[in-house]
Amino acid sequence: EACGHISLSAPIVRLGDSVTASCIINKNCSHVGLESPILWRLGTELQPGGQQRRLPDGTQESTLTLPHFNRTQAFLFCCMNWGNTLQILDQAELRAGYPPAIPSNLSCIMNLTTYNLTCQWEPGPDTHLPTNFTLKSFKSRGSCQTQEDSIPDCIAKDRQSHCSIPRKHLLLYQNTGIWVQAENALGTSMSPQLCLNPMDVVKLEPPILWVEEPSPEAASPQPGCLWVHWEPWKPSLHISQKCELRYQPQPGDASWTLEGALPTETLQYELCGLLPATVYTLQMRCIRWPLPGHWSNWSPGLKLRTAE
């Protein structure tokens, strides 16, 4: 049976708080003289101030208080001199940090490839302690005041500030209450709750712009005009959406010109009012409409040259 045993007031404390440790040397620790002083070492430095006393049952106990423990982590050793070497009898890990701040900027995006609802948040300042982030959610009829069915917790991986709720737990067209909970040894905090319809936070991928091969049948554009063709992103074919076009003459120092509300059915558009014999960069983005959604990113630039 080991000679020494450390017990702590608390293994984890707030940074700067005090910690009290006691080390008991059990009496049948025959190797050492029972009166030898118990020594404390924090990391590599011996710690004076241990109060040693003999307990009624003959065992020795030393108690040490560290008034302001302001390291995030350190090992505390209970030791004794034996022969002329310092012997470690037990070791305890001390940790200090902060309770988790309230996670902020919680936002979610519906991914149409995986049909997962991915939410992300700002975790707040480093707590210096292992902190678990859990995305909690429930299905709700109204404005998320009442919980209909619960949804299994989504536990973020270590050091990640996002989590994805799989499709099978979602009702895509019903309000869902979502918040994130942060928890560590010093406390728990919760973000404000979002109330959203998963499909209303869908973010589309940009459409694909393409150029029609010049051919006799193809309508040759009027002077100062360009024919623009595009294809919506395949997984969003069932979603009614509106798109925007922006263009910029080369070299690209002039600002972008925006051409809003393109026709959604025809998937082509004659862009006019352009300079002749000039190369333009065209980009397009789309958004679920009239139902809510997020704008896609701008598509990669397509370079087209207007006729002479």
Binding site: R167, L172, Y173
Partner: protein
């Protein structure tokens, strides 16, 4: 009973139209896959099998374009979707490759049924109790599940074609 379009929120109708289009795309994908992989391409070749397995079919005759009664139309739409949700569940184990498509299709049909049921509740025309699923066919072989998949999806597509027309009519401004 409710008059036709007036009382249905536009948001509800647009959501339903989007959901129907999604289900139709997924149904078509499942049919294409069954045809490509198992050479089961024509539902009309499987009518007899459908009868012998007792695969139920439902139509949407409660939503005539003239004198449409919203309550009966919505509840028939819900009952139909509820039936197809059960039939799709009965097809579980159709094949490892098709399982994801079948799962998504079933989740989306259930989603649409929920959207409609909640709208009926909001309008105060929902029956007191949710419907309960009747007896479902049991598919005892891989072939029966695949043939059943062709039949169920083709019935579902026809049902949704009608539903889409009704919802579009109701969504007209």
């Amino acid at each position: 009973p409710l008059g036709p379009a007036s009382s249905l929120p536009q948001g509800f109708l647009l959501k339903c139209l989007e959901q129907v289009r999604k289900i139709q795309n997924e149904g078509a994908a499942l049919q294409e896959n069954l045809c490509a992989t198992y050479k089961l391409c024509h539902p009309e070749e499987l009518v007899l099998l459908g009868h012998s397995l007792g695969i139920p079919r439902t139509t949407l005759n409660g939503c005539p374009s003239q004198d449409l009664q919203l309550t009966s139309c919505l509840s028939q739409l819900h009952r139909g979707l509820f039936l197809y949700q059960g039939l799709l569940q009965a097809l579980a184990g159709i094949s490892p490759e098709l399982a994801p498509t079948l799962d998504m299709l079933q989740l989306d049909v259930a989603d649409l049924a929920t959207t409609i049921w909640q709208q009926m509740e909001d309008l105060g025309v929902a029956p007191a109790l949710q419907p309960t699923q009747g007896a479902m066919p049991t598919f005892t072989s891989a072939f029966q599940r695949r043939a059943g998949g062709i039949l169920v999806t083709s019935h579902l597509q026809s049902f949704l074609e009608l539903a889409y027309r009704v919802l579009r009519y109701l969504a007209q401004p």
